[in-house]
């Protein structure tokens, strides 16, 4: 793929996103209520975590701040994934209604046509994640547990984490080309796995932590890099491995997606 083509696709993507936002603004009330509701959900989720942390303090040798860090990184990675690719998560709608037909007749990659169908601004999630992350990192820097470089490394792992979550979401959605319905699968591969990885994986039995590292690699979003970044365990190579996992995940899921599309069944008209 050459650079000119990439640039023209990015421009097209930008145009489609602007179009979507303009369409959405026709329903301002809907947008405002949706954002407020999301904020409410985020606040209650945060309170839940806060209560758990306050009650139990350290879990299996992980301090309150470290757990807050795991939680925040996961939230922010998910926020990036869902801001740009919410429609990948909601592919079922397109499969059931046959709306993928239109996207397939456009002279651009299907994903590039699908993703800008919705651009979800998620201010509530962003604020919540950002707040907990600042608190956690700030406290750890004051105690000298981590240095300034941790901030840059954190931004990096939030991005690789977003890529990993996107890949998991894309691979799960692709299964919909065979099953049409995917919500229940997503409950497992996306929601349950992500929720589990908000806590240190040492909490879980061996088989489960292996599952969360090697089958559905959510452990690489926050847990594995944190081992090195926060606790100096393993070694700096863990960051390279994390990036490698992200690259492998995205390539594999894109390949799977391209194969899945050939199995698309559309709907009777």
């Amino acid at each position: 793929m050459n650079l000119a083509k990439l640039r023209s696709w990015l421009r097209l993507y930008g145009l489609l996103v602007r179009t979507t936002i303009r369409s959405r603004m026709q329903y301002k009330f809907n947008f405002v209520v949706g954002t407020l509701l999301a904020a409410l959900v985020q606040i209650s989720e945060f309170l839940m975590v806060a209560i758990v942390l306050d009650r139990f303090g350290a879990i299996r040798g992980w301090s309150v701040h470290e757990i807050g860090y795991l939680f925040a990184v996961m939230t922010l990675s998910k926020t990036i994934y869902r801001t740009f690719a919410d429609e990948v998560h909601h592919l079922e709608k397109y499969l059931v209604g046959g709306e993928l037909d239109q996207l397939l007749t456009r002279p651009m990659p299907v994903l590039l046509a699908l993703m800008p169908q919705k651009f979800r601004l998620m201010p509530a999630e962003l604020l919540q994640g950002g707040f907990i992350l600042s608190w956690a990192l700030g406290s750890m820097m004051r105690t000298g547990q981590v240095g300034w470089t941790a901030v840059i490394a954190t931004l990096f792992i939030i991005l690789t984490g977003a890529v990993i979550l996107f890949s998991i979401g894309l691979a799960t959605a692709t299964l919909g080309f065979w099953t049409t319905r995917i919500v229940e699968l997503q409950n497992i591969t996306e929601d349950a796995a992500r929720t589990a990885a908000q806590y240190p994986l040492t909490l879980y039995p061996k088989w489960m932590s292996s599952l969360l590292l090697f089958a559905i690699p959510v452990g690489f979003v926050n847990y594995m890099p944190s081992l090195y970044l926060l606790r100096g365990e393993v070694g700096p190579w863990v960051l390279a491995v994390t990036a490698g996992v992200a690259v492998i995940c995205i390539f594999a899921s894109l390949r799977f997606w391209r194969y899945g599309i050939t199995k698309y069944q559309s709907t009777g008209s």
């Binding site: 369409s23 651009m108 229940e184």
Partner: protein
């Protein structure tokens, strides 16, 4: 050659849906499938400049064929070329040279003014500003687009939306246009408008067009060639006169007379385009070919035979005609 379809077959394999808890998951791992052969071993070629009607009963495989030709569905076996390109291997390249209109669904951006959709599509297909303006001026003229230029698509009437959609499909000036039920649900006026435009595209601009329809008039007025599909198989491929000869489209008219009536002699009836097929008590049954004589003309002629009390007409349903045709 604009379209080449070689031995196209499409099977739909739907997993049997499980009931109850975790139905989605159990469906995923289930080995039970329902197999539906939507299209079976279809081959045909369409030359540049042809106007082809693709007809058949509901569920016969019309839409499935169109979706395979446009690269939306991948055939189970067989191969497609549109404008020399395989839409399943090089989808992006293939769709650049074709326009697609689905009667039931819009390509346009639902919440935006019609005009904005054209701007986006122009950008998507790399149509320059000058070309866009020139083509849209032309389409606006021919399709009366200006009256709803700034209206959001969701507020358009069905007829307006269809006009807007056809213009959208032609904006990048493709050589080949596919239309799936473009006149479905439209009133007479809107149908006429759209037929005129399509016929112009074909005649004046040399566009190759393939459309599916349930409206026999679409076929009669537009197509130089008809293909009939039934239960996934091509049962006819040829010209309209030949098809008409084979189908005949006979209408049965039962006329009940009040009081005495006189049926003319055979020799007198011979030159008229209808046949007396039965006389029972006070009722005469006449069969006529609707393409040769209007219903009112028949009734006018019959009223000369006596005092008409009641008229009962049985139109042959299009679907039935096609069915009986395929069976024979």
């Amino acid at each position: 050659m604009m379209i080449e379809a070689h031995n196209l077959t499409k099977d739909f394999k739907t997993p049997v849906v499980r009931e109850g808890r975790f139905s989605g998951l159990r469906t995923l791992f289930s080995r039970e499938y329902r197999l539906k052969e939507a299209v079976r071993d279809i081959s045909f070629q369409v030359e540049r400049g042809e106007f082809v009607g693709y007809i058949g009963p509901n569920g016969a495989g019309k839409s499935t064929t169109i979706k395979m030709l446009t690269g939306i569905l991948h055939p189970t076996s067989g191969e497609v070329r549109v404008g020399g390109v395989n839409p399943h291997r090089d989808r992006r390249q293939a769709v650049r040279q074709l326009g697609v209109v689905f009667g039931q669904r819009s390509q346009l951006w639902w919440d935006l003014p019609v005009k904005d959709s054209y701007d986006i599509l122009a950008e998507m297909y790399g149509v320059s500003g000058a070309e866009k303006t020139q083509r849209l001026d032309q389409f606006a003229e021919l399709l009366d687009l200006r009256e709803f230029w700034l209206t959001p698509v969701r507020k358009l009437s069905l007829g307006q939306r269809m006009r807007a959609d056809i213009a959208a499909a032609m904006l990048h000036d493709p050589d080949l246009l596919f239309l799936d039920e473009p006149t479905i649900g439209l009133d007479v006026h809107a149908k006429r408008n759209i037929r005129q435009f399509l016929s112009q595209l074909n005649r004046d601009f040399g566009k190759t067009i393939l459309l599916t329809t349930h409206d026999m008039d679409d076929i009669e007025q537009l197509c130089s060639r008809v293909m009939v599909i039934d239960q996934g198989q091509l049962t006819y491929d040829g010209t309209i006169p030949t098809l008409r000869e084979q189908i005949g489209l006979p209408t049965e008219i039962r006329v009940k007379f009040r009081g005495p009536f006189r049926v003319p002699e055979e020799t007198e009836v011979e030159r008229l385009p209808y046949r007396v097929t039965g006389i029972e008590d006070d009722t005469v049954v006449v069969e006529a070919n609707r393409h040769e004589i209007g219903t009112m003309e028949i009734i006018r002629a019959l009223s000369e035979w006596g005092d008409i009390d009641d008229v009962d007409m049985a139109e042959p349903a299009f679907e039935e005609v096609i069915r009986s045709f395929s069976a024979s």
